[in-house]
Symmetry: C2
Subunit: 137 residues, 2 copies
Amino acid sequence: MDQLLDILKKNQLSITDGRKKILDMFLRSPGALAHADIEKNTDIAFDRVTVYRTLQTFVEKGIIHNIPTTDNSILYALCKDNCEAGQHHDNHVHFICDVCDKTICLDNVTIPEVKLPKGFKQKQMDVVVSGICDECK
Amino acid sequence: MDQLLDILKKNQLSITDGRKKILDMFLRSPGALAHADIEKNTDIAFDRVTVYRTLQTFVEKGIIHNIPTTDNSILYALCKDNCEAGQHHDNHVHFICDVCDKTICLDNVTIPEVKLPKGFKQKQMDVVVSGICDECK
DNA sequence: AATAAAATGCAATAATGTTGCAAAATTAAG
DNA sequence: CTTAATTTTGCAACATTATTGCATTTTATT
């Protein structure tokens, strides 16, 4: 049973080489990936446009979601437990390591609550913590 | 006593038209600004490059800081109380309104604490809440 | 007012993202 | 298994966004 095919089929996506390879990268990656990471991967011999469109499709289907960053890059991550169920709009804690620069999706960290001023209604919350990760300590 | 000049002088920056006008935009703006907002402002008749360099300088000096976003834009905000003291690396709560699309810096909202897994060391935390702001409710 | 230092504008270049359309691959049907 | 319909991909062109070097202008210093 291939996890790859499983995810693609569940989301009613046709099985193509591009989607398989890109999804495979996410499944193997401990952290988040930027568009550039994928494009620079020599195994991925696809056109820039295909990468853009594949990522867009994956986001729409809820296979991956994007992580806020303070630079102008977009980070994508597949969160192990939830995303396959299509619940990727749920709240997450993301950790960015200042040393190795990797972004890790901390699925099992409880997200805190925030008291907003009067009149504000919360729909989603993203928490990005930066510091030193467990491998670089 | 001009607040503008005060901020620039405190940070040992020469007083130029560009810096004055861009800083003025931040002082008048209730929310965060993107590079594009500044460039499109007809009062700002400066070269793109100047805007980039001015923003970079302001960030380095701690006059403004940038806010994580899930799209590929960089948002900058001057946070009313802290930034002048150069403490802009402190933790903030940012609110992005889904309706009017403005980003607001909630300085007086207490930032929550997060328990990280073993081995992770937290240095900074950014919280981005999205929903409906008090003006669009 | 003259000089040193810093900031700006311009031009060129690089990097990043988007769109339309033809060719190729995948799926569905017989 | 082969064919037709649908979807995906690659290419090309284009648009937007960001960066760098250098000459010119502006600001600060004496």
